[in-house]
Symmetry: D2
Subunit: 335 residues, 4 copies
């Protein structure tokens, strides 16, 4: 349940009073910023909370009963949806954001080429990994700071918004200095300390679904970030682990309309990691767009054959441009 104090009561002191009051009934509370206002989240159902807070009715502007286990993430809290806009990139609330680029930042030339090509192909944001979560400790771990600088340069030259992954709290802070959006990968989707750090930041976070996570768990991971005061979260569905063996992960397409019903957060789909093979990526992009997602995160490499990593799942810039054009038309048709 959410409790919105009136303007003059939006203080930690008042929140502490409410907290003390509810604690007597065994109800835990949490005080945070949500968008442009302060809110107290009471970890319990309305029936128990309401009578207790009625005595403070003059100090409380509104309450909102949210029956889900997640609270700030619930669609009920912001029915119109959250829009995240950075320069020409916008996602959510009717905006479709296309993020594209190579899996890994290899060289300045590779990234600049890719950036120009994906921009021309319809992307408004550029992805590229500087810190790479590799299954093997001996594999190439990314160019790290050098990669961030290359990404930043590509942003300056093209105007594209940049998205790159961070795997620790320190990396989140570092990435936030160089990139526009910090990505949290599937393997860290329930790394709660990392999510807490994301909650303290004001940089938008692209949060990937853990490949073994239920939708509820995915939304609870987002809730960690929102509970910290950062409501600029973009969800990313990237496939789950099942018995299917012709793809790396199974893209559970029903998650797209389902998440759109459950949460106000924008949702993009990553067809590249889901499929693990380029020949399915365009069709999965069409399907995701038709299912109602708010954007795509696609691997595009100027020269997939020679990519350091994940080349077999990367589109060429030409394929990408054809694909985005069709996605644009599908969206027009369905809105």
């Amino acid at each position: 349940m959410l409790i919105y104090p009136v303007a003059e009561k939006c203080t930690d002191k008042f929140a502490a009073e409410i907290a003390a009051l509810l604690a007597c009934s065994g109800i835990r509370t949490h005080h945070t910023q949500f968008g442009d206002r302060r809110v107290i989240v009471a970890d319990d159902n309305a029936a128990a909370v309401l009578p207790i807070i009625q005595q403070h009715s003059k100090s409380i502007e509104a309450t909102l009963d949210v029956p889900e286990t997640y609270q700030l993430t619930s669609k009920r809290v912001r029915p119109g949806g959250t829009v995240i806009k950075i320069r020409d990139f916008a996602v959510g609330g009717g905006h479709f954001g296309i993020i594209a680029g190579p899996c890994t930042i290899e060289t300045e030339k590779q990234v600049l080429t890719a950036a120009e090509r994906v921009k021309k192909g319809g992307a408004t944001a550029l992805r590229g990994g500087a810190f790479k979560p590799r299954t093997s400790p001996y594999a190439f771990q990314g160019l790290k700071l050098e990669g961030l600088k290359i990404l930043q340069k590509a942003a300056e030259e093209t105007g594209l918004v940049t998205v790159t992954e961070a795997m620790s709290s320190d990396e989140v802070k570092l990435v936030a200095e160089y990139a526009d959006i910090v990505q949290i990968g599937t393997r860290n989707a329930q790394n709660y300390r990392l999510l807490e750090t994301c909650g303290e930041m004001r940089v938008p976070i692209l949060l990937k679904r853990g490949y073994g996570c239920s939708l509820d768990e995915f939304l609870m991971s987002a809730e960690y970030i929102l509970a910290g005061g950062n409501d600029r979260v973009i969800l990313c569905e990237r496939g789950i682990r099942t018995f299917e063996n012709y793809v790396r992960y199974t893209l559970p397409i029903a998650a797209v309309p389902m998440l759109k019903m459950l949460t106000h957060l924008p949702l993009v789909v990553d067809p590249s990691h889901a499929a693990g093979r380029a020949d399915l990526v365009s069709k999965l992009s069409f399907a995701s767009t038709a299912a109602g997602c708010d954007g795509l995160l696609v691997e595009v490499h100027p020269d997939p054959q020679h990519a350091l990593c994940d080349g077999r799942q990367s589109l060429t810039p030409e394929e990408f441009a054809v694909m985005t054009e069709k996605c644009r038309k599908i969206r027009e048709l369905l809105v």
Copy 2:
């Protein structure tokens, strides 16, 4: 590997000679009708077979190396795709077939109403269960023969093609007398004796994927039917079992483009059984269409609230009509 004898050699006698020859090398063969010609399937790789049959080169018109475990089902055998046409219903090879109707045949009135409404809404085929595979032996098992007669009457009145399930070899034969297409359900997807009976029939078969089956197993089930001489098989993806809990089954959307690459058989998607809830069905239909399927199998009930079975996953005729119109536009756009 497929071996096509020249016209005058398309006899069981010649096939037996080839079989005997290959058996010496431990290679098993199978002689059958495929479309309008006879073919010998050699259950082995080309390298082993070719030298053996070269001595019969004058009797053999062509051979085709099919490296997959399935043979007649492979895309290589009929790259242009199989088209199945019955009256106004057509699926495959560029045709999009929409099959709709109630889960269960309840009354003549219900079926006739549903038939008229789904026809108006864009369907060219009518579905409805007369023999129902129920998890409980005590649950309503369908109207059986009476249901088939109702379905037939609805076909006569509306011209719609009819599809209904059979669960045993005897039922296949009975259904084939009353309906246009025999459906084999997900629970019988690996009921090989039933598939063999389907192979002996000349009625088109709508074969659902087993919810625990891999794509290879799905195609091998189709192969059982084709091996029997019946190449009029419509595949139906209807969702697989995973850990996801907000839907009854997970619709693995990548299976759509993948199957279109692997096989020449037409592929329809059943979003109703996949989702198990009506509020996701339209979006899953858009996604499936965008992913390239050849048609849809959708539950529509004139009065979902009072359906005997599966009401919560049925669209109303109005929702159905809106949905098919959008699917039509998506297809236009993507072809």
Copy 3:
């Protein structure tokens, strides 16, 4: 809910009266034989049924409220457990039944050798496939009738009880003439017409869990057989389909104690098909025994290297004998 009429009322006529009475309240009933008595199964909860039948209280000996969706299969119906005994083979109710033998019946010599070896190694029943459910229609489908005769001969020579699979209603009847126990395979676990035929028989049925089935679905499949009047069903856990890739199927060991809590039917485990590799079979047998199963179904081949089918998952007779001896000790220890 189960309704047991008094002895003189155990007639179809009385059952029809009760059925008519309950039908007025929309409750479906089913009249069948369960063990040595007749029972009426009312497909509804006690609260609705009880007042209606009270007026027949003198004709009704007892009622039993079974809250599960399955009824006759529930542990509540026979808390002491069902024992199935045939000659020296016994399973359930404290008896541990070991069934072993080759995947496929190849030759008389192979089966007789295997039979003698597994008997010496501790088995009291012999398995071997005459009708083989092969994924490919072109693969060897078993020796069929000839195989059944070989199996019968092995039974005569060794006294071993025999278990072999049937895939259609006709095959069930044929198998019942030659073998002691009819096996229904994982691919037919929800072939309801086949299960109905099994319900009409009086031969014991070994019912394998469908590899995609929930426990509830597994028990409902057994219920189909019990509802037909055949309560001699042996359940067999043989692994489910998951993302694990070092085994063919995942053996969900918790299913063993869980099923023992839910049902009175004996439960054996098939570690061979679960693992798909011989080097895990003994350890899975120990684990299953320790988890409380009532027996094992193990593939043993006199010469695994040269088996026609599934050789890589077969134990040698020597390995088998060592394994059964340890299982025997684990059981002694835990009882």
Copy 4:
């Protein structure tokens, strides 16, 4: 492939020379401590590496070809198995280590009571959560430092070895000051930065399998720790996510013998989190022991009914004592 330099060459300088040499052929290397010796890991196959290092044959004592993707974790590297001993607790290499205690550290009294009871019941190590990875950011997150102090006190009073979870690099360092073994939870199983920190420590690490991870991924996570120089890793199987719904996670029992074949690291099983219900825990413990694990991690609470967290999956101390006694006997029997 592993390269062991002769004693006088076990320097970073020599490793750098070898690295430079192999880098020319595109082979990446890593120099680390493994147990009591230095080793160079070459991320490539023997065939490519061997000729290159032959010119340094006098400086190289031995090489070991490890075909698996994990290297130091492979069974080949230490066929006798790794033993981890702390006071009376020992696991691996024939030792069976039983770790038990409450899910969460609630009060000093609760922990001391639990410690005494589990010690009496056969445990040599005490578990208890101070930092709790909760799905909800609003749920109780553990007593943190205060909890660590309580745990330490319990260790002092009972002599039990202590195990508790850490969720960030900072927490790993803090926990290592108060507890004997640091646990990495299932949600952080692929948190590579955290695993790197564990690699820098000399405290033993109990690494839980990610519930969505393959065995290869699990072993690669361990490899991150070993690559950092810490070979004191205890693996913990705790169940995977599947479609099964009567348990929280499916315990894939075959993983136990499989992991024992693949790696030298000790393996314990956590039946409590796998089942999520107390009534299955003892049976799963018997099964795991029979399958060959090296120990157990079990939730035991003096008063499960009133536990703050996970009470429904906790054994009572009495149940625990009965269970460990049986596990002891199973082990005796199987060794």
